[in-house]
Subunit: 160 residues, 2 copies
């Protein structure tokens, strides 16, 4: 069980599990500091040009991703649960203030556990139907989310 | 500000404010006990035939409403914030476990404040666009939500 999400459903959810050699505290900081997010949150050569975080339940997560060709893709979501150093849950089905969003797609959960001096890192994408799960997988979920973990670890090591 | 929802937007939200002569504690109980919900949650002669409440963040609210002709309408939502005696926020844009829902419509906030021996009762329906707000208003939001407050107060007085 990954509470409050429940047990992942393989027909609806995508799960990435990694063991990384940086401590939980630094991973938490990387995920909650907007300046850090800009360094690693999308696979290079894409970039994050803007990021705002209002780290409270009902608060907003806003980022702008830019493609190598210069096209910009704004993303907006809402934090659902925040347990420092342990888990962070947010969704694009809601805007800040829990307002229903125009293009709901998925809820994301980040789960962290200390593992020696490192971190057991689990990211889950929870979808409403199998088609959304497949779309997300076809968009490159596993490669993309794994690449950004590598970028995050590299950024953490370069700055600590 | 009705945190975490923010300030209601008159173009997107519907707000019902009432002063009622039953205490906050009993109103909270009426909203969080499934057996109570069955007595007042829909305008009579409609009835609630089933109700289940998993009162935790990410937990589900499930009810089945039955029309006078016997047609049944299931409803499923997810709790977003629970502050006993003060506020209860839930949404039909998510299923239990924060899973995106197939027919997202609105987020609801119930705000309670003691007012002498009674309660200042504020209910807010938060929509994603003006069309959803209008649909909800045309469905009879003001009459319906006000009628069920009267039914709730009558039920509370009959059982305390």
């Amino acid at each position: 069980m990954m509470l409050p999400l429940g047990k992942p459903d393989p027909t609806l959810d995508l799960v990435l599990e990694r063991e990384i050699d940086v401590p939980v505290e630094w991973v938490w900081q990387a995920w909650t500091d907007p300046e850090s997010i800009k360094h690693w949150f999308v696979p290079k050569p894409w970039t994050v040009t803007e990021c705002e975080i209002d780290l409270r339940v009902g608060g907003g997560f806003r980022s702008v991703m830019r493609s190598p060709e210069g096209q910009e893709f704004p993303n907006l979501g809402c934090y659902l649960e925040i347990v420092p150093m342990k888990r962070l849950i947010f969704t694009d089905t809601l805007l800040p203030g829990f307002r229903p969003a125009p293009k709901p797609f998925f809820t994301a959960g980040l789960f962290l556990e200390p593992n020696g001096k490192g971190t057991r890192y689990t990211a889950i994408a929870v979808h409403g139907d199998a088609a959304s799960r497949k779309t997300h997988e076809d968009m490159g979920f596993y490669d993309g989310w794994s690449t950004v973990v590598d970028q995050m670890v590299a950024h953490i090591k370069a700055t600590h």
